[in-house]
Symmetry: none
Subunit: 260 residues, 2 copies
Protein backbone atom coordinates (compact mmCIF):
# COMPACT_ATOMS: atom_id res chain seq x y z
CA UNK A 1 0.00 0.00 0.00
CA UNK A 2 1.13 3.52 -0.68
CA UNK A 3 3.01 5.32 2.05
CA UNK A 4 4.32 8.84 2.47
CA UNK A 5 6.71 8.88 -0.51
CA UNK A 6 4.23 7.34 -2.94
CA UNK A 7 1.46 9.60 -1.78
CA UNK A 8 3.63 12.68 -1.98
CA UNK A 9 4.20 11.95 -5.66
CA UNK A 10 0.54 11.14 -6.22
CA UNK A 11 -0.48 14.45 -4.64
CA UNK A 12 1.91 16.45 -6.78
CA UNK A 13 0.75 14.73 -9.94
CA UNK A 14 -2.89 15.09 -9.06
CA UNK A 15 -2.35 18.76 -8.29
CA UNK A 16 -0.84 19.34 -11.72
CA UNK A 17 -3.90 17.95 -13.43
CA UNK A 18 -6.92 18.92 -11.34
CA UNK A 19 -5.99 22.19 -9.62
CA UNK A 20 -8.25 24.92 -10.91
CA UNK A 21 -10.91 22.57 -12.24
CA UNK A 22 -14.53 22.99 -11.19
CA UNK A 23 -16.44 19.97 -9.92
CA UNK A 24 -19.49 19.08 -11.98
CA UNK A 25 -20.54 15.93 -10.12
CA UNK A 26 -19.44 13.75 -7.23
CA UNK A 27 -20.56 10.13 -7.13
CA UNK A 28 -19.69 7.91 -4.17
CA UNK A 29 -19.82 4.16 -4.67
CA UNK A 30 -17.72 2.99 -1.74
CA UNK A 31 -18.53 1.84 1.76
CA UNK A 32 -16.80 4.32 3.98
CA UNK A 33 -17.90 7.91 3.82
CA UNK A 34 -18.28 10.12 6.90
CA UNK A 35 -21.26 12.12 5.60
CA UNK A 36 -24.39 11.48 3.59
CA UNK A 37 -23.67 11.13 -0.16
CA UNK A 38 -25.92 14.11 -0.82
CA UNK A 39 -23.84 16.26 1.48
CA UNK A 40 -20.75 15.25 -0.47
CA UNK A 41 -22.31 16.45 -3.73
CA UNK A 42 -23.69 19.59 -2.16
CA UNK A 43 -20.29 20.53 -0.75
CA UNK A 44 -18.27 19.83 -3.87
CA UNK A 45 -20.35 20.58 -6.95
CA UNK A 46 -19.52 23.97 -8.50
CA UNK A 47 -16.45 24.29 -6.28
CA UNK A 48 -13.00 24.82 -7.76
CA UNK A 49 -10.07 22.65 -6.67
CA UNK A 50 -7.70 24.98 -4.83
CA UNK A 51 -5.01 22.49 -3.87
CA UNK A 52 -4.17 18.79 -3.70
CA UNK A 53 -1.90 17.76 -0.87
CA UNK A 54 -0.76 14.72 1.00
CA UNK A 55 -1.94 14.57 4.62
CA UNK A 56 -0.29 11.61 6.30
CA UNK A 57 -1.45 8.57 4.35
CA UNK A 58 -4.35 10.48 2.84
CA UNK A 59 -4.69 12.80 -0.12
CA UNK A 60 -6.64 15.97 0.56
CA UNK A 61 -8.44 17.97 -2.09
CA UNK A 62 -8.93 21.49 -0.80
CA UNK A 63 -11.73 23.40 -2.53
CA UNK A 64 -12.03 27.14 -3.00
CA UNK A 65 -14.72 27.35 -0.31
CA UNK A 66 -12.51 25.73 2.32
CA UNK A 67 -14.12 22.30 2.06
CA UNK A 68 -11.57 19.50 2.18
CA UNK A 69 -12.06 16.04 0.71
CA UNK A 70 -9.76 13.39 2.20
CA UNK A 71 -9.14 10.10 0.43
CA UNK A 72 -7.42 7.14 2.08
CA UNK A 73 -6.41 4.48 -0.46
CA UNK A 74 -5.90 1.76 2.15
CA UNK A 75 -4.07 -1.32 0.82
CA UNK A 76 -4.96 -1.45 -2.84
CA UNK A 77 -6.76 1.73 -3.81
CA UNK A 78 -5.58 4.13 -6.46
CA UNK A 79 -6.50 7.18 -8.53
CA UNK A 80 -7.34 7.12 -12.23
CA UNK A 81 -7.96 9.93 -14.66
CA UNK A 82 -10.96 9.47 -16.89
CA UNK A 83 -13.73 11.49 -18.51
CA UNK A 84 -17.29 12.14 -17.48
CA UNK A 85 -18.63 9.64 -19.99
CA UNK A 86 -16.60 6.68 -18.79
CA UNK A 87 -15.72 7.31 -15.19
CA UNK A 88 -18.83 5.66 -13.77
CA UNK A 89 -18.05 2.47 -15.69
CA UNK A 90 -14.67 1.97 -14.06
CA UNK A 91 -14.36 -1.31 -12.22
CA UNK A 92 -14.02 -1.09 -8.43
CA UNK A 93 -15.15 2.50 -8.47
CA UNK A 94 -15.20 4.17 -5.05
CA UNK A 95 -15.50 7.83 -5.93
CA UNK A 96 -15.96 9.67 -9.20
CA UNK A 97 -15.34 13.40 -9.45
CA UNK A 98 -16.39 14.86 -12.79
CA UNK A 99 -15.23 18.32 -13.76
CA UNK A 100 -16.81 21.05 -15.85
CA UNK A 101 -14.30 20.41 -18.64
CA UNK A 102 -15.68 16.86 -19.07
CA UNK A 103 -12.62 15.26 -17.51
CA UNK A 104 -12.96 13.13 -14.38
CA UNK A 105 -10.95 11.72 -11.52
CA UNK A 106 -11.74 8.33 -10.02
CA UNK A 107 -10.77 6.56 -6.85
CA UNK A 108 -10.86 2.81 -7.35
CA UNK A 109 -10.17 -0.05 -4.99
CA UNK A 110 -10.59 -3.75 -5.75
CA UNK A 111 -10.82 -4.43 -2.01
CA UNK A 112 -13.37 -1.63 -1.60
CA UNK A 113 -11.72 -0.44 1.60
CA UNK A 114 -10.67 3.00 0.38
CA UNK A 115 -12.29 5.68 2.53
CA UNK A 116 -13.55 9.15 1.79
CA UNK A 117 -13.95 11.82 4.44
CA UNK A 118 -15.37 15.29 4.08
CA UNK A 119 -13.75 17.85 6.38
CA UNK A 120 -12.47 15.32 8.90
CA UNK A 121 -11.02 16.57 12.13
CA UNK A 122 -7.27 16.44 11.95
CA UNK A 123 -5.11 16.30 15.06
CA UNK A 124 -2.53 18.99 14.37
CA UNK A 125 -0.37 17.76 17.23
CA UNK A 126 0.58 14.63 15.29
CA UNK A 127 3.58 15.45 13.11
CA UNK A 128 3.99 14.32 9.53
CA UNK A 129 6.82 11.90 8.83
CA UNK A 130 8.77 14.76 7.27
CA UNK A 131 8.33 16.94 10.35
CA UNK A 132 9.41 14.71 13.21
CA UNK A 133 11.74 16.39 15.69
CA UNK A 134 14.11 14.87 18.21
CA UNK A 135 12.18 16.42 21.09
CA UNK A 136 8.92 14.91 19.87
CA UNK A 137 10.37 11.44 19.45
CA UNK A 138 12.03 11.60 22.87
CA UNK A 139 8.72 12.55 24.46
CA UNK A 140 6.86 9.76 22.70
CA UNK A 141 9.51 7.20 23.65
CA UNK A 142 9.38 8.33 27.27
CA UNK A 143 5.60 8.12 27.36
CA UNK A 144 5.40 4.63 25.85
CA UNK A 145 8.62 3.01 26.99
CA UNK A 146 7.58 -0.60 26.56
CA UNK A 147 6.37 -0.44 22.99
CA UNK A 148 8.61 -1.70 20.17
CA UNK A 149 10.04 1.22 18.20
CA UNK A 150 8.58 -0.13 14.98
CA UNK A 151 5.08 -0.11 16.44
CA UNK A 152 5.40 3.58 17.30
CA UNK A 153 6.88 4.49 13.92
CA UNK A 154 3.88 3.13 12.02
CA UNK A 155 1.22 4.33 14.45
CA UNK A 156 -0.66 7.04 12.59
CA UNK A 157 -1.61 8.66 15.88
CA UNK A 158 2.13 9.13 16.58
CA UNK A 159 3.60 9.95 13.16
CA UNK A 160 1.58 10.50 10.00
CA UNK A 161 2.56 8.82 6.78
CA UNK A 162 5.05 6.10 7.70
CA UNK A 163 3.88 2.51 7.14
CA UNK A 164 5.26 -0.97 7.30
CA UNK A 165 7.70 -0.79 4.39
CA UNK A 166 9.31 2.58 5.10
CA UNK A 167 9.57 1.96 8.83
CA UNK A 168 11.82 -1.02 8.02
CA UNK A 169 13.91 1.17 5.75
CA UNK A 170 14.25 3.90 8.36
CA UNK A 171 15.15 1.46 11.11
CA UNK A 172 17.76 -0.15 8.94
CA UNK A 173 19.23 3.22 8.00
CA UNK A 174 19.38 4.13 11.71
CA UNK A 175 20.78 0.68 12.53
CA UNK A 176 18.14 0.14 15.21
CA UNK A 177 16.32 -3.16 15.57
CA UNK A 178 12.55 -2.97 15.05
CA UNK A 179 12.17 -4.95 18.29
CA UNK A 180 13.95 -2.31 20.35
CA UNK A 181 11.78 -0.97 23.15
CA UNK A 182 11.19 2.76 22.92
CA UNK A 183 12.17 3.37 26.53
CA UNK A 184 15.52 1.65 26.08
CA UNK A 185 16.68 3.56 23.03
CA UNK A 186 19.47 5.93 24.15
CA UNK A 187 19.70 9.56 22.98
CA UNK A 188 22.11 8.65 20.19
CA UNK A 189 19.59 6.09 18.93
CA UNK A 190 16.88 8.73 18.88
CA UNK A 191 19.24 11.02 17.00
CA UNK A 192 19.96 8.33 14.45
CA UNK A 193 16.27 7.77 13.92
CA UNK A 194 15.39 11.42 13.59
CA UNK A 195 18.13 11.78 11.00
CA UNK A 196 17.18 8.62 9.11
CA UNK A 197 13.49 9.48 8.76
CA UNK A 198 13.78 12.40 6.32
CA UNK A 199 16.80 10.90 4.55
CA UNK A 200 14.93 7.70 3.73
CA UNK A 201 11.67 9.43 2.84
CA UNK A 202 13.20 12.15 0.66
CA UNK A 203 15.39 9.65 -1.11
CA UNK A 204 12.32 7.56 -1.86
CA UNK A 205 10.42 10.58 -3.13
CA UNK A 206 13.33 11.42 -5.44
CA UNK A 207 13.55 7.87 -6.75
CA UNK A 208 9.82 7.70 -7.35
CA UNK A 209 9.78 10.99 -9.20
CA UNK A 210 12.57 9.74 -11.41
CA UNK A 211 11.11 6.30 -12.03
CA UNK A 212 7.38 6.97 -12.09
CA UNK A 213 7.14 10.69 -12.79
CA UNK A 214 3.40 10.77 -13.48
CA UNK A 215 2.18 8.17 -10.97
CA UNK A 216 -1.17 8.62 -9.26
CA UNK A 217 -1.48 4.97 -8.21
CA UNK A 218 0.56 1.84 -7.73
CA UNK A 219 3.76 1.11 -5.91
CA UNK A 220 7.39 0.98 -6.93
CA UNK A 221 9.74 -0.44 -4.31
CA UNK A 222 12.76 -1.77 -6.21
CA UNK A 223 15.09 0.71 -4.60
CA UNK A 224 14.40 -0.22 -1.00
CA UNK A 225 17.33 -1.55 1.00
CA UNK A 226 15.74 -4.28 3.12
CA UNK A 227 11.92 -4.33 2.87
CA UNK A 228 11.83 -6.35 -0.34
CA UNK A 229 10.59 -9.92 -0.52
CA UNK A 230 13.17 -10.89 -3.15
CA UNK A 231 16.26 -9.53 -1.47
CA UNK A 232 18.57 -11.80 0.53
CA UNK A 233 21.27 -9.39 1.67
CA UNK A 234 21.26 -5.81 2.84
CA UNK A 235 23.33 -3.30 0.81
CA UNK A 236 26.17 -3.94 3.26
CA UNK A 237 25.98 -7.67 2.75
CA UNK A 238 24.15 -8.85 5.87
CA UNK A 239 21.42 -11.49 5.57
CA UNK A 240 17.96 -10.01 5.77
CA UNK A 241 15.78 -11.46 8.53
CA UNK A 242 12.04 -11.68 7.85
CA UNK A 243 9.80 -11.87 10.90
CA UNK A 244 6.36 -10.90 12.04
CA UNK A 245 6.28 -8.09 14.57
CA UNK A 246 2.82 -7.18 15.78
CA UNK A 247 1.44 -9.11 12.81
CA UNK A 248 3.43 -6.99 10.35
CA UNK A 249 5.96 -8.67 8.07
CA UNK A 250 9.23 -7.04 9.06
CA UNK A 251 12.61 -7.12 7.35
CA UNK A 252 15.79 -6.29 9.21
CA UNK A 253 19.37 -7.42 9.73
CA UNK A 254 21.78 -8.13 12.57
CA UNK A 255 23.43 -4.79 11.85
CA UNK A 256 20.57 -3.18 13.72
CA UNK A 257 21.15 -2.64 17.41
CA UNK A 258 18.61 -4.16 19.77
CA UNK A 259 17.85 -2.04 22.83
CA UNK A 260 15.81 -3.93 25.42
Amino acid sequence: MPELPDLTVFAENLAKVVTGKVVAAAEFRGKRLNVAPEELSLSLVSRRVAAVERAGKEISFRMDNGTALFVHLMLKGGFQFSDDEHVLQLPSLILALSFKDATALAVTDPKRLATVNLNPRVDERVPDGLAVTREYLQTVFRQRPRVPVKTLMIDQKIIKGIGNAYSDEILWKARISPRSLAGKVPPEGVDALVEAIPVVLRHAIDELKRRTPDAISGEMRDFLDVHLSGRRLSPTGHPIIKEEINSKITYYTDEQRLYR
Copy 2:
Protein backbone atom coordinates in the same frame (compact mmCIF):
# COMPACT_ATOMS: atom_id res chain seq x y z
CA MET B 1 -17.14 -12.21 48.86
CA PRO B 2 -20.80 -11.60 49.48
CA GLU B 3 -23.09 -11.64 46.49
CA LEU B 4 -26.76 -10.94 45.95
CA PRO B 5 -28.17 -13.67 48.25
CA ASP B 6 -25.80 -12.92 51.14
CA LEU B 7 -26.35 -9.20 50.82
CA THR B 8 -30.11 -9.60 50.64
CA VAL B 9 -30.03 -11.32 54.02
CA PHE B 10 -27.60 -8.77 55.43
CA ALA B 11 -29.88 -5.94 54.32
CA GLU B 12 -32.93 -7.48 55.93
CA ASN B 13 -31.13 -8.12 59.18
CA LEU B 14 -29.61 -4.67 59.24
CA ALA B 15 -33.01 -3.15 58.56
CA LYS B 16 -34.51 -4.98 61.54
CA VAL B 17 -31.95 -3.49 63.89
CA VAL B 18 -31.18 0.02 62.64
CA THR B 19 -34.34 1.24 60.94
CA GLY B 20 -35.74 4.16 62.90
CA LYS B 21 -32.52 4.93 64.72
CA VAL B 22 -31.07 8.43 64.62
CA VAL B 23 -27.41 8.88 63.72
CA ALA B 24 -25.32 10.52 66.44
CA ALA B 25 -21.92 10.31 64.73
CA ALA B 26 -20.32 9.02 61.54
CA GLU B 27 -16.62 8.24 61.51
CA PHE B 28 -14.87 7.15 58.33
CA ARG B 29 -11.56 5.31 58.64
CA GLY B 30 -11.33 3.69 55.21
CA LYS B 31 -9.66 4.69 51.97
CA ARG B 32 -12.49 5.01 49.52
CA LEU B 33 -15.13 7.61 50.15
CA ASN B 34 -16.64 9.74 47.39
CA VAL B 35 -17.05 12.88 49.49
CA ALA B 36 -15.12 14.71 52.19
CA PRO B 37 -15.47 13.02 55.60
CA GLU B 38 -17.03 16.23 56.97
CA GLU B 39 -19.74 16.06 54.33
CA LEU B 40 -20.49 12.51 55.40
CA SER B 41 -21.04 13.60 59.01
CA LEU B 42 -22.98 16.67 57.99
CA SER B 43 -25.34 14.62 55.83
CA LEU B 44 -25.94 11.82 58.32
CA VAL B 45 -25.82 13.18 61.85
CA SER B 46 -29.30 13.75 63.34
CA ARG B 47 -30.88 11.86 60.45
CA ARG B 48 -33.13 8.88 61.03
CA VAL B 49 -32.56 5.62 59.11
CA ALA B 50 -35.61 5.20 56.89
CA ALA B 51 -34.65 1.96 55.14
CA VAL B 52 -31.83 -0.49 54.58
CA GLU B 53 -31.79 -2.22 51.21
CA ARG B 54 -29.54 -4.17 48.95
CA ALA B 55 -28.56 -2.39 45.74
CA GLY B 56 -26.66 -4.80 43.54
CA LYS B 57 -23.61 -5.78 45.56
CA GLU B 58 -23.98 -2.78 47.84
CA ILE B 59 -26.06 -2.07 50.92
CA SER B 60 -27.84 1.25 50.92
CA PHE B 61 -28.92 3.10 54.05
CA ARG B 62 -31.65 5.53 53.11
CA MET B 63 -32.11 8.38 55.58
CA ASP B 64 -35.27 10.33 56.31
CA ASN B 65 -33.97 13.33 54.38
CA GLY B 66 -33.39 11.34 51.21
CA THR B 67 -29.65 10.98 51.69
CA ALA B 68 -28.41 7.51 50.78
CA LEU B 69 -25.28 5.87 52.14
CA PHE B 70 -23.96 3.03 49.97
CA VAL B 71 -21.52 0.47 51.36
CA HIS B 72 -19.64 -2.02 49.18
CA LEU B 73 -18.02 -4.77 51.25
CA MET B 74 -15.67 -5.91 48.46
CA LEU B 75 -13.94 -9.22 49.10
CA LYS B 76 -13.70 -9.46 52.86
CA GLY B 77 -15.68 -6.64 54.41
CA GLY B 78 -18.57 -7.10 56.82
CA PHE B 79 -20.93 -5.36 59.21
CA GLN B 80 -20.73 -5.56 63.00
CA PHE B 81 -23.10 -4.27 65.65
CA SER B 82 -21.42 -2.51 68.54
CA ASP B 83 -21.97 0.39 70.89
CA ASP B 84 -20.74 3.95 70.83
CA GLU B 85 -18.10 3.26 73.47
CA HIS B 86 -16.39 0.41 71.65
CA VAL B 87 -17.09 0.86 67.96
CA LEU B 88 -14.05 3.02 67.29
CA GLN B 89 -11.78 0.37 68.78
CA LEU B 90 -12.86 -2.34 66.34
CA PRO B 91 -10.00 -3.75 64.31
CA SER B 92 -10.06 -3.00 60.56
CA LEU B 93 -12.68 -0.32 61.05
CA ILE B 94 -13.83 1.34 57.84
CA LEU B 95 -16.95 3.16 58.99
CA ALA B 96 -18.60 3.64 62.36
CA LEU B 97 -22.16 4.89 62.64
CA SER B 98 -23.19 5.66 66.21
CA PHE B 99 -26.83 6.12 67.04
CA LYS B 100 -28.62 8.27 69.61
CA ASP B 101 -29.49 5.18 71.65
CA ALA B 102 -25.75 4.50 72.22
CA THR B 103 -25.70 1.52 69.83
CA ALA B 104 -23.46 1.55 66.81
CA LEU B 105 -22.96 -0.14 63.46
CA ALA B 106 -19.51 -0.75 62.04
CA VAL B 107 -18.19 -1.66 58.63
CA THR B 108 -14.91 -3.53 58.94
CA ASP B 109 -12.57 -4.93 56.34
CA PRO B 110 -9.21 -6.56 57.00
CA LYS B 111 -8.20 -5.79 53.40
CA ARG B 112 -9.36 -2.17 53.80
CA LEU B 113 -10.96 -2.21 50.36
CA ALA B 114 -14.57 -1.73 51.43
CA THR B 115 -15.96 1.46 49.91
CA VAL B 116 -18.45 4.03 51.10
CA ASN B 117 -20.38 6.32 48.77
CA LEU B 118 -22.75 9.11 49.66
CA ASN B 119 -25.58 9.56 47.16
CA PRO B 120 -23.81 7.85 44.28
CA ARG B 121 -25.37 8.04 40.85
CA VAL B 122 -27.08 4.79 40.08
CA ASP B 123 -27.76 3.67 36.53
CA GLU B 124 -31.40 2.64 36.69
CA ARG B 125 -31.19 0.91 33.32
CA VAL B 126 -29.05 -1.89 34.80
CA PRO B 127 -31.38 -4.53 36.22
CA ASP B 128 -30.87 -6.29 39.51
CA GLY B 129 -30.18 -10.02 39.36
CA LEU B 130 -33.73 -10.64 40.56
CA ALA B 131 -35.21 -8.46 37.81
CA VAL B 132 -33.57 -9.76 34.64
CA THR B 133 -36.01 -10.30 31.78
CA ARG B 134 -35.66 -12.41 28.67
CA GLU B 135 -35.87 -9.35 26.46
CA TYR B 136 -33.07 -7.65 28.35
CA LEU B 137 -30.77 -10.65 28.19
CA GLN B 138 -31.47 -11.13 24.49
CA THR B 139 -30.59 -7.51 23.83
CA VAL B 140 -27.36 -7.73 25.82
CA PHE B 141 -26.37 -10.97 24.09
CA ARG B 142 -27.04 -9.43 20.69
CA GLN B 143 -25.03 -6.35 21.53
CA ARG B 144 -22.00 -8.23 22.81
CA PRO B 145 -22.06 -11.45 20.83
CA ARG B 146 -18.42 -12.42 21.28
CA VAL B 147 -18.21 -12.24 25.04
CA PRO B 148 -18.39 -15.41 27.12
CA VAL B 149 -21.76 -15.65 28.88
CA LYS B 150 -20.11 -15.86 32.28
CA THR B 151 -18.31 -12.58 31.69
CA LEU B 152 -21.61 -10.83 31.02
CA MET B 153 -23.36 -12.44 33.99
CA ILE B 154 -20.85 -11.07 36.49
CA ASP B 155 -20.45 -7.66 34.85
CA GLN B 156 -22.03 -5.21 37.29
CA LYS B 157 -22.71 -2.84 34.42
CA ILE B 158 -24.91 -5.55 32.86
CA ILE B 159 -26.58 -7.21 35.85
CA LYS B 160 -26.33 -6.00 39.42
CA GLY B 161 -25.56 -8.44 42.22
CA ILE B 162 -24.34 -11.63 40.56
CA GLY B 163 -20.69 -12.51 41.18
CA ASN B 164 -18.29 -15.32 40.48
CA ALA B 165 -19.86 -18.00 42.70
CA TYR B 166 -23.52 -17.56 41.83
CA SER B 167 -22.83 -17.15 38.12
CA ASP B 168 -21.38 -20.67 38.17
CA GLU B 169 -24.47 -21.94 39.98
CA ILE B 170 -26.83 -20.26 37.53
CA LEU B 171 -24.95 -21.54 34.50
CA TRP B 172 -24.96 -25.05 35.88
CA LYS B 173 -28.68 -24.86 36.61
CA ALA B 174 -29.29 -23.64 33.04
CA ARG B 175 -26.88 -26.30 31.70
CA ILE B 176 -24.96 -23.69 29.73
CA SER B 177 -21.19 -23.67 29.63
CA PRO B 178 -19.57 -20.54 31.06
CA ARG B 179 -17.45 -20.39 27.91
CA SER B 180 -20.47 -20.13 25.63
CA LEU B 181 -20.36 -16.98 23.55
CA ALA B 182 -23.33 -14.72 24.10
CA GLY B 183 -24.09 -14.35 20.41
CA LYS B 184 -24.26 -18.13 19.92
CA VAL B 185 -26.72 -18.90 22.71
CA PRO B 186 -30.04 -19.82 21.09
CA PRO B 187 -33.39 -18.54 22.39
CA GLU B 188 -33.97 -21.69 24.44
CA GLY B 189 -30.62 -21.13 26.11
CA VAL B 190 -31.58 -17.58 26.98
CA ASP B 191 -34.87 -18.89 28.35
CA ALA B 192 -33.05 -21.44 30.50
CA LEU B 193 -30.80 -18.74 31.87
CA VAL B 194 -33.60 -16.31 32.62
CA GLU B 195 -35.40 -19.06 34.48
CA ALA B 196 -32.33 -20.23 36.35
CA ILE B 197 -31.32 -16.82 37.64
CA PRO B 198 -34.19 -16.25 40.12
CA VAL B 199 -34.45 -19.94 40.99
CA VAL B 200 -30.81 -20.11 42.07
CA LEU B 201 -30.81 -16.75 43.81
CA ARG B 202 -34.08 -17.24 45.71
CA HIS B 203 -33.09 -20.74 46.74
CA ALA B 204 -29.82 -19.35 48.11
CA ILE B 205 -31.63 -16.60 49.97
CA ASP B 206 -33.93 -19.18 51.53
CA GLU B 207 -31.04 -21.41 52.55
CA LEU B 208 -29.13 -18.51 54.03
CA LYS B 209 -32.13 -17.32 56.02
CA ARG B 210 -32.53 -20.81 57.40
CA ARG B 211 -28.88 -21.42 58.17
CA THR B 212 -27.70 -17.95 59.17
CA PRO B 213 -30.86 -16.12 60.12
CA ASP B 214 -29.16 -13.13 61.71
CA ALA B 215 -26.15 -12.76 59.46
CA ILE B 216 -24.78 -9.31 58.65
CA SER B 217 -21.38 -10.56 57.53
CA GLY B 218 -19.58 -13.65 56.38
CA GLU B 219 -20.36 -16.25 53.79
CA MET B 220 -22.07 -19.61 53.86
CA ARG B 221 -21.76 -21.63 50.66
CA ASP B 222 -22.20 -25.29 51.68
CA PHE B 223 -25.38 -25.66 49.68
CA LEU B 224 -23.96 -24.65 46.30
CA ASP B 225 -24.07 -27.28 43.57
CA VAL B 226 -20.78 -26.75 41.75
CA HIS B 227 -18.92 -23.64 42.93
CA LEU B 228 -17.33 -25.32 45.94
CA SER B 229 -13.62 -26.03 46.20
CA GLY B 230 -14.19 -29.31 48.05
CA ARG B 231 -16.77 -30.86 45.77
CA ARG B 232 -15.77 -33.40 43.12
CA LEU B 233 -19.10 -34.21 41.50
CA SER B 234 -22.15 -32.21 40.57
CA PRO B 235 -25.47 -33.24 42.19
CA THR B 236 -26.11 -35.33 39.07
CA GLY B 237 -22.81 -37.11 39.37
CA HIS B 238 -20.67 -35.38 36.75
CA PRO B 239 -17.08 -34.43 37.54
CA ILE B 240 -16.68 -30.77 38.31
CA ILE B 241 -14.17 -28.96 36.09
CA LYS B 242 -12.21 -26.10 37.66
CA GLU B 243 -10.74 -23.56 35.23
CA GLU B 244 -9.84 -19.93 35.03
CA ILE B 245 -12.07 -17.87 32.76
CA ASN B 246 -11.07 -14.24 32.48
CA SER B 247 -8.94 -14.71 35.58
CA LYS B 248 -11.93 -15.96 37.59
CA ILE B 249 -11.86 -19.44 39.10
CA THR B 250 -14.78 -21.17 37.45
CA TYR B 251 -16.50 -24.46 38.27
CA TYR B 252 -18.64 -26.28 35.72
CA THR B 253 -19.33 -29.72 34.29
CA ASP B 254 -19.70 -31.39 30.90
CA GLU B 255 -23.46 -31.33 31.39
CA GLN B 256 -23.37 -27.70 30.38
CA ARG B 257 -23.86 -27.04 26.69
CA LEU B 258 -21.14 -25.06 24.95
CA TYR B 259 -22.41 -22.67 22.28
CA ARG B 260 -19.58 -21.25 20.19
